[in-house]
Symmetry: C2
């Protein structure tokens, strides 16, 4: 799910403006980390970002990736998703959207859901507190993992409930 060079440039430009407006330094590490998240719609986890950024900047440390993505999240430059059973993932798409997570391969895919976004907040929920954000997670088999056309991408099965497996 690559983004086009045009999209990436536009996002990077917005990103650099936001960093400057925040009054913090625009370092090569920050640029590389942002670009790595913005490069695709894949929702990479920390380890993936780290591995890919190292190809451009071989000396970046894991600590920098953690620190930097945490900073971006606080600045609203990236969103975070934590699909059940998988690690925290990052998303440079900050427009309102929701996620479909494949219970087999972990693919995390965006979709829009206007019908949900415009639904009123039920009384049962507003009684609990002030709702500030809402998010839907759909789970199931993604198109690549679906049986039949046997077009598996070679990923192995994965527990779907967030727990480890236990011996028989």
């Amino acid at each position: 799910m690559k983004r086009t060079p045009g999209e990436i440039s536009k996002m990077t430009e917005r990103f650099e403006g936001a960093i400057r407006r925040a009054g913090i330094k625009l370092t090569p590490q920050r640029i590389a980390i942002y670009r790595e998240v913005a490069r695709t719609a894949d929702h990479p986890d920390i380890e993936t970002v780290f591995r890919n950024v190292r190809r451009k900047l071989p000396s970046v440390s894991l600590d920098t990736v953690y620190r930097t993505l945490g900073l971006f999240a606080d600045l609203g430059l990236v969103m975070t998703v934590r699909p059940l059973g998988y690690r925290l993932r990052f998303d440079a798409n900050t427009s309102p959207h929701h996620h479909f997570v494949c219970t087999r391969c972990g693919a995390t895919l965006d979709f829009e859901y206007r019908e949900f976004d415009t639904l009123r907040i039920p009384a049962a929920a507003s009684a609990l507190g002030r709702v500030e954000s809402r998010h839907v997670e759909f789970r199931g088999l993604c198109a690549s993992c679906a049986p039949g056309p046997a077009r598996s991408k070679g990923k192995s099965a994965k527990r779907t409930n967030g727990t480890r497996s236990h011996r028989p």
Copy 2:
């Protein structure tokens, strides 16, 4: 959010039947762990279950808690929730419901949302794969953490985006 003794008995009875039907052993550890999750609607995490179960069974090991809760999740005896920014939590309420998560104290509260449950799956999502389950997470400040009546439960603020804090 304690459950009544009546509810707990009923749940425990169903639990024991399910364990027997699954053809696995009904151990004191399994009973204690199940009862601890069923005791409240608090969605405890592993560490909390471990700590509380130890009060009854001081020798229970953390490994057993991990293993056992994973087993229960596979058997459908508990559900798992992983609120953004908090650890994996367990829920003995297996009826369809959704969650409100307090971004300050982490309280994870159940609510029903019929309007959502009956919503059709949007084409944008079914194009991605076969949707097998759906879950809504609302985030915001819970009633106890809301400002004003200053009735804070003493919990400290917490990052809301699933990342660690970074130095200023």
